[in-house]
Amino acid sequence: MDKPNDNWKIWEVFIRSKNGLSHKHVGSLHAPDADMAIKNARDVYTRRSEGISIWVVPSEAVTASSPDEKEPLFTPADDKVYRHPTFYEIPAEIGHM
């Protein structure tokens, strides 16, 4: 028995559900090339009108930040409350600002 399509790349699939919204990651699949990845994504991820546009990206092309870097990368933002509107006190009579 041949080994099941072991030379097929993994593709990450992103779907735009409607115009005005961005493409969102929905999962991944196997395909021999980009065209067929789009066709497979149509069958696997949009059987119920979930999308009007598909992006496929080879998984190997994604560079991800490492979970070990979570602290140095993201904690510096945690103590900068002055970046949020609620930090500033505006009298109630001014209304919404």
């Binding site: 041949d2 099941p4 030379n7 696997v44 059987r47 979970p67």
Partner: protein, 317 residues
Amino acid sequence: MGEVQLEKRFQDYLDGENKIEPKDWMPDAYRKTLIRQISQHAHSEVVGMLPEANWITRAPSLRRKVALLAKVQDEAGHGLYLYSAAETLGIDRSELVGDLLSGKAKYSSIFNYPTVSWADMGAIGWLVDGAAIANQVMLCRTSYGPYARAMVRICKEESFHQRQGYEIMLSLANGTAEQKQMAQDALNRWWWPSLMMFGPTDDLSPNSAQSMKWKIKRKSNDELRQEFIDKTVPQAEFLGLTVPDKDLKWNEEKQGYDYGEIDWEEFYNVVKGNGPCNKQRLSDRVKAHEEGAWVREAANAYAAKEAKRKADKVQAA
């Protein structure tokens, strides 16, 4: 950080109801448990297509036929979502599929029962998908992110499966005496195997405790089984059918049904490979895989040709 500290931090993180994502540190045993569980789940979706595919060409109307076709196609999709989720744990899909085809991997025993009448399409959608849904709704809150997300997708699609099954039962139950008997017969044959789908009783499922601690499982086998029974019995009554359990009785105190002893000997026998259809299912799956070889080859040839065409174009420009 040492292994013990890492595991403690991992458990604290889970206890805080946080999700684990693919690149996060996780104990080896957690990874292995998930690979086994997710791939068995994927195999079940794939093998689960076989008993129903049996009836697609013989569906009694076009409406029933498109519905059954769409359901079976969904199950293929579920298998694919789940293989993808398993792959995020660093295992290759071809290895998982290879284990299924060689008979090494397990899949849900329910699919080793035969589908002998059209009423079985009703009973499967209603009971088998119903039991699967109970388990899958729980798994929407499982601790591994990609698995939980696959489950959310799957659950959205499953509810139509159960409704189309119940609708089939409803028309048979309201049909001729012979049709009603078909429905009753299907319920008789699928009831107990459906209850077995939740797995052994809590005192006999040794791995459950660890899975609950890791929040992979959120409810015990017996809890899920009880929920399923309490939900399903009134549905059977509405159909005017009799659940084949003489010990089934409403228990006011626990606000649930008491039910009879499950034949665990039968369960383990089917798990071991001696069910009515184990051999047939596996050989059908192998056959389908082999007969699909030309599709995979053609896809490769097409991809190679397209790549060459593109390269030639670049060169010509």
